[in-house]
Structure formats: C-alpha cells, structure tokens
Amino acid sequence: MQIDWTHFSPGAALIGGAEIGLAAGLMILLLGRIAGVSGILAGIIPFRREETGWRLAFALGLVAAPLFASLFRAPAPPEFTAGYPLLALAGLLVGFGARLGGGCTSGHGVCGLSRFSLRSVVATVTFMSVAIATVFVVRHVIG
C-alpha cells in the first residue's frame, strides 16, 4: 500500500467532516429528522404540505454551498474521471441502490453509524467493500 501524500489532506478532511456531523446533529436536534441525502431527495416528490418544503430547502442549501464557500476561497471544481455513458449508468445504480438499501453515505454512513444502527453498519461495510472492489476492477484488472 502506497500513500498518496500529495493529495492526503487530513486537516481539511477532519474540519469538513465535523461540519457534516454538525449538520446531521442539527437536523436531528432541531427538525427531528435523519440527514440522509438520498431519502430527503426522494421525499420531495410527490408534493406533501408537511414534507416537500423542508426537503427542497435542504437540497437548495446543498447546491448553494459551493457558492457560499467561494465567498472565502474558490472551491476546486469536481473532475469526473468517468465519461458520460459510465456516469449515467453509475447515477442510475446510485439512485436505485440507495433507495433499495434505505440510505446512502450520509444516512447509513454518517447518521446510521453515529446512532449505532446494525442495519447501517451492514450497509456501510457492504457499499464500502463493493465500491473498493469496483475501483480495483476498473483500475487494476480492466484498466
């Protein structure tokens, strides 16, 4: 195993992670909900008076984040390693899988682990190992 020292950024990772944890904490302590992005997005539709508003507001807050961050320092734009067909396929799998499994990296990975949910531990270990295996196949077997 070789560490990528040029890109390794533990300080920024810890601070950014703490902000994600703070958001998840405020979500449960104020709105009484789990900050799982896939679940929140999926619940925007169909329109329901009590549900659609706060879910849409959360999503808009996410989209506004890079704009807000750029007031202080221009954030690095995302570089997509995959081409369009692969991204479309991956998007389908991410959306489908997150709903079938009842959560994604935020709902299971952050909130679920923080509340010691067995289902979330199993889901997180599963998607982490499968994602690591997928990258291994793409980069070191096929690539």
């Binding site: 958001a23 449960i28 104020l30 984040a65 799998l93 991410v94």
Partner: protein
C-alpha cells in the same frame, strides 16, 4: 412550523460546505480513497471520523427525547432487521459509487458548478430512485408490496 424551511436550508448549507471543505465532492478524491491498491489517499477516513465524532454527540443528546428543540417530533428509524433488500441495495449503490466516485450529497452539491457531467449524473440518479419506487407498483398485481424501510 414555518421556521423549519429556513433552518433546513441552513443545515443543507452547512452539510454542503462540509462536503466542499473536505473534498468529498471531488470524484477523483473519492476514487483515490477507494483505490487501496493504487496510490491511496486516506483523507475520506478522516471525513468519517470528524462527521461521526460530532454526530454521535448529537444523537446521544437526542436519544432520550421525543420532541426536538424547536418542538418537532423526533423521527428516528426503528431498529429493523438486516435483510436482502438492504444488502443488495447497498451493493448496487457501491458499484455506482465506485464507478463514478459520486454519492447523492456530492451529486447535489456539484450541480452548482454547472458541469454537464454533474447534471447527467444527478438526472440519472433521480431516474434510478424513480425506477426503484416503480418496482413494487409493477409487481403489485402478483405479489404483496415490500415493506418500505428507511435508514
């Protein structure tokens, strides 16, 4: 309660800034973390440590409460069973996450960069969610619908 909507926007903003600051929104960085056999970037383990460290305290504070600090009911998922649906769903999610380096939070945050690739991923992801929702409807004629479980 009307205060929910501005609060939720603010929470989304904090969440998104956390993703941007940590670099979790960058597909190349996420894949650098997942590529343990290549040049490995362990940063995202530190994102999880930071996030879980803070969130654990909040969930401990929420544990005994039924009503939130602004008077909303606290809705935590009941401890459910580990079933095939959970494992298969997480595995499918893992394939997509590995292929792209993008999960739902970053997919939403990255819309702000107006990169057509970010838009394609987001639209495909929403379509994937819609297909998952249609599944039980299509099967309902022959079998009882699966019980919905949310994390």
């Amino acid at each position: 309660m009307k205060t929910r909507i501005p609060l939720s926007f603010l929470i989304g903003l904090i969440f998104g800034v956390g993703l941007v600051v940590s670099g979790m929104n960058l597909p190349s960085k996420v894949q650098g973390f997942l590529d343990i056999a290549g040049l490995w970037d362990p940063s995202l383990a530190f994102v999880m440590i930071g996030a879980i460290g803070v969130a654990t305290l909040a969930f401990r504070l929420a544990a005994g409460r039924r009503i939130s600090f602004i008077g909303e009911p606290i809705q935590q998922p009941a401890a459910g069973r580990v079933d095939a649906r959970l494992v298969v769903g997480a595995a499918i999610f893992g394939v997509g996450w590995g292929l792209s380096g993008v999960c739902p939070g970053p997919a939403t945050v990255n819309l702000a960069f107006l990169d057509p690739k970010a838009v394609v991923f987001f639209v495909a992801m929403v379509l994937g969610m819609a297909i998952e929702r249609m599944g039980p409807l299509l099967k309902r004629a022959s079998a009882p619908a699966a019980v919905e479980q949310d994390s």
